[in-house]
């Protein structure tokens, strides 16, 4: 070390003291905005968005429910405000859970809704068919009853040769429609019962946020009565 280097020593010492004693501010904009927590320098578990910290490197471990942890070091510069933006990605396990959950919900919906819609449609069809059947039969009976009150042979001939056969054909068609509708409704009811049984057997997947357990294990917090370890428990409520 020469004299020139020695002359710089006070300056470096001053600068070091200045950096070591200065403070800077950091504003955290980590998504998702709700539920983000972080552990600062392996000691404190915090959730506030703004911090004033001594200048220098600080270790942040960010975590949010169902998101990947982010372990990073941020450098605080004295008298400077740093804006930190980050989106925590969803964990693969949670993504897979959501896919499975969606599949289960869709499967349950499929097994319940489709037979139910089929049954309801067939029921409406059967109700309409029955109504039409009754109306056609009433018309046929009324036409048959009018036979005895008619005094015009031409009208009687028309009634027997045209009106009654036509109404009879309508009634036959209505009967066929009603039979088909009742059969469809029957299939629908059976399908609905089976569908509800099947849907009830579909097990919805459960999800355990392993990242939270890991995150909870990172911090050790002192309490008023002494030392304690902050633990978390995740109970899935279905």
């Amino acid at each position: 070390m020469n004299l020139r280097d020695l002359s710089l020593l006070p300056i470096l010492l001053f600068a070091s003291i200045t950096v070591g004693q200065g403070k800077g501010e950091i504003k955290l904009h980590v998504s998702p905005h709700n539920g983000v927590e972080y552990v600062l320098d392996g000691k404190e578990r915090l959730s506030n968005r703004g911090l004033v910290l001594p200048a220098g490197d600080h270790r942040f471990v960010f975590w949010a429910p169902d998101r990947k942890m982010l372990d990073t070091t941020l450098t605080i510069v004295a008298d400077t405000t740093i804006l930190f933006y980050k989106v925590l990605p969803i964990t693969d396990a949670y993504r897979a859970y959501k896919v499975e959950q969606k599949r289960a919900v869709q499967g349950r919906f499929f097994y319940r809704a489709i037979p139910l819609v089929l049954t309801a449609t067939a029921g409406v069809f059967a109700w309409n068919s029955n109504k039409k059947d009754r109306e056609t039969y009433d018309a046929l009976v009324a036409a048959g009853d009018s036979y005895n009150s008619l005094r015009v042979p031409l009208a009687i001939t028309g009634l027997k040769d045209q009106v009654l056969p036509s109404l009879q054909a309508d009634l036959d068609a209505a009967n066929r429609r009603l039979t088909m509708a009742v059969a469809l409704a029957g299939v629908g009811v059976v399908a609905t019962i089976l569908g509800f049984i099947k849907a009830g057997r579909i097990v919805e997947p459960t999800y355990e946020d392993k990242g939270k357990v890991e995150f909870d294990g990172l911090v050790w917090m002192p309490s008023r009565n002494g030392s304690s370890i902050q633990l978390g428990m995740h109970i899935p409520i279905r």
């Binding site: 048959g144 005094r151 009687i156 009879q168």
Partner: protein, 140 residues
């Protein structure tokens, strides 16, 4: 299982309530029906031979009784065909107020038999199955 049984019973009940047909062939009880088979609206009261033109000529008089049910219908026609003289058709005057119609045949010879077809038509000319076919010898 129980619901399936109930459902099947409901289906059977609905299908059991199916409406049945009207038997068109059995509709033949109206006397105005062209297919009617039974007593006629008309009935021969008497057939008499009566002289006219001072006894030089004779005519046959058929007294035809009409049922009240027919007389309530306004537009009926009685047609009489006499076969001795071909195509002799008589349309007697009909008075709905009177229960009897008199059919007159002015061209009869004593000792000869005359036969008639008496038809009944109503409305637009449909022939009813009420035909009478009397025969009578012209004699005093």
């Amino acid at each position: 299982m129980k619901s399936n049984v109930l459902f099947l019973l409901a289906c059977a009940a609905i299908l059991g309530c199916r409406k049945h047909d009207v038997d068109i062939a059995s509709l033949n009880t109206s006397r105005f029906d062209p297919d009617w088979v039974g007593p006629s609206f008309m009935r021969i009261d008497s057939i008499r031979t009566v002289p006219y033109a001072s006894g030089a000529l004779h005519r046959q008089q058929i007294h035809l009784h009409l049922d009240e049910e027919l007389r309530n219908v306004q537009d009926y026609v009685i047609r009489v065909i006499e076969y001795t003289v071909p195509d002799t058709t008589i349309y007697p005057a009909v008075d709905p107020a009177q229960p009897t119609v008199v059919i007159l045949n002015y061209l009869v010879q004593l000792g000869e038999e005359y036969c008639y077809d008496i038809d009944l038509r109503i409305g637009s000319g449909i022939l009813l199955n009420h035909r009478l076919s009397p025969c009578a010898v012209a004699e005093l």
